[in-house]
Symmetry: C2
Subunit: 341 residues, 2 copies
Amino acid sequence: MIPSIEWTAENKVKMIDQTVLPHKLEFLEFDDFRAVANSIKVMNIRGAPAIGVAAAMGMALATIEYKELGKENFLKKMENAANVIRMTRPTASNLFWAVDRVWKIIVSFPDNPSNLSELVIEEAKIMAQEDINVNKNIGKNGASLLKDGDVVLTHCNAGSLATVQYGTALAPVRAAIEAGKNISVIADETRPRLQGARLTAYELHYDNIPVKVISDTSSGLLMKLGKIDKVIVGTDRVTSDAVFNKIGTYLVALAAYDNKIPFYVAAPTSTLSLHETIKDVTIEQRDCSEVRNILGKVQIVPDGVECLNYAFDITPFRLVTGVITEDGVFTPEELLKKYKA
Amino acid sequence: MIPSIEWTAENKVKMIDQTVLPHKLEFLEFDDFRAVANSIKVMNIRGAPAIGVAAAMGMALATIEYKELGKENFLKKMENAANVIRMTRPTASNLFWAVDRVWKIIVSFPDNPSNLSELVIEEAKIMAQEDINVNKNIGKNGASLLKDGDVVLTHCNAGSLATVQYGTALAPVRAAIEAGKNISVIADETRPRLQGARLTAYELHYDNIPVKVISDTSSGLLMKLGKIDKVIVGTDRVTSDAVFNKIGTYLVALAAYDNKIPFYVAAPTSTLSLHETIKDVTIEQRDCSEVRNILGKVQIVPDGVECLNYAFDITPFRLVTGVITEDGVFTPEELLKKYKA
C-alpha cells in the first residue's frame, strides 16, 4: 500500500497518477492549486476521501501563493481558489466538506495571512492522517460482517487508491484478512473509467489479496449462481434517503436485493450529507469521450453517434443493508437516528 | 440494411464480418462448414437467428463436401459436422433448432446423398427468408406497444445484424418508425464484446434511426431519471421459467421492474425451448481475454489478475412484461399456454 497522496517536505502535493495505472506506477507533484484542481477533474486522483484531502492540500497551496497579500485581497483570492476546487467534481460531498473545513481556519484567522499557510498545511496533513484512522476503523467495524471464505463483490475503487491509504469499501476486506480470514474479491470493471479493473484489481493484487475482474454486466448472474456472499461499495455522498456512488451501483444493489445478498456501504462520516435528499444532488455528467473511446485508446462507438455519461448513481436506502462508518455499522434508519441533527 | 448472411450463386456462405464493425464493413466467404462453425465461435456472425441460419448453411456446405460418399459414411460425416456446429455456442437455442431442422431432411432422404445437398441448400435459403418474415411480424406486433416519442432501451444487438435482416428486438422500433412514429433508441454498450456500442449503434445510425450509447452501468439511473420509456431485448433461448440473453440483461430487467418500465423480449418461436427450465441450460463461459483486453486492443486488467466471463444471463419470467413473437405479444403465462405442448 502506497499513499495515494501526500504533502512533501518541499511543500508540494505528491500523488499517484491513477490514469496510467495499472500499466505504470507514476507520481505527479504540484505546487499550484489550479494543477491540483485539474488533477481532481481529470481523475489523476479520485475517490471521495482522497479528493477531499487533495482539495485541502490544494487550498494549502493557494494560501502559500497568496500569503503576501493583504487580508481583503487574500480572502477574495482564496474564495476564488475554493470555488475552482469545489467545481471539479460536483457530486463528491467531502470535496465540499474539506474545503469548508479549511475555510473555517482561513476566516477565523485574525489579521495578516503570512503565517496562516502553516496552519492550513498542518490541517491538511491532519486530514490525511485522520483519513487513514477513519479507514482503519471502518475496516475493523466492517470486518465483523465478513465470514471466513466470503467472496465480496465491489464496484469501482473505494480502496487504498481512493483514500489516502487503506480504503473504505476495501477496508473491511483488508481488516478481515489481517484477522486471519480467507476473503476474496470480485471487482466490477466499472465502465466507463474502469476503476475496478484497473485500480481495485491493481491494489489488491499488489497486496496479495485474491481478486477477479468481471464486466459490469455479470454481477447479477454471479449472485444468482451463488458466487458472491456480500457486496461492499464506497460512496461519494449519503443523503437522508439514498447513497450516491459510482454509476452502476444501483444495478448492483438491485441484484443483491433480489438475491438476498447483504449490500453494505462504507461511508466515512465526511461523506454524510443527511440534511439533503436525492432532489438536492446534481449528478455530474462527464464528457462522452469516456464512453466513446475506452481510456482514450479504442473507439467503440461509430462516428456520428452520441453517448450519455452520468458519473454517479442513486441507490435508495431500501436497497441498503448497512452503512459502515468509523463509528460502527448502521441500518439506514439507525444512521439517520445517530447522525441527523 | 444489408443482409448479415446469404447463400451465394457460387454455393458459398457470405457474411458481414461483425468483429471489425463499426470501423470497417467487410465480408467473409466460406465454402467449408468448419470455417462457418469457426465464424460462429469467434463471432464474425452472432445473434441467435443469424447463427441459426449460419448453422443451416454450414450443414449445406457439409452435404456438398460429402455428397460422393455412400449413405452410411455420409451420415457418419454429417453427424460429426452437426456436432462441430452445435458445439460452437452452447446456449443458443436456434443453433440446435436449425441443425435439427436440416437433420430431418438428411435422415429422411431415401438412398444416395448426391442430390440431397440441393434440398438442404434450398432449406437453408428458405430458413433465411423465413427469418426475415418472422422479424417483420415481430416488428408489426411489437410496434403496437410503442407510442410516438418513446425512447427504447436495448441491450446487446438483436437487430438486423443479429438476424438475416430487420432484427428481432429492433424490429418493433423499425416498424414503428415505418408507421410514422418518432422513436429513439438508447443502446447499452454491452461489455465484454460491445455489441451495443459497435453493432446496434452502427446499424441504427446507418438507417438514420436516432441512437445514443451508454455504458452498461447507466441504465438504472436513466430509468430513475425518466429518460427511458420501454425496454426491448432479444433472446437466445426462452425456457418455461426464464429468458436467456446476453450477460447484463438480468440487471436491465431488475431496473425496469423497479422503475415500472415495461420490459419486452423479442423472441422468434425458434428460440422457444419451453420443455426446458433454468436448470437444463449451460451458460457459455468464454475466454477471459474478452474481459481483460477490450476488443483485443487495450489491456484493462493488470497482469496476473484473473477474470470471469459468462456470456449469458438468466432473466426470470417475473421480470418480463411481455414476449413478442411472430404470432403476437404474450405475457409469460400466455406464452406457456400458447406454445407449451
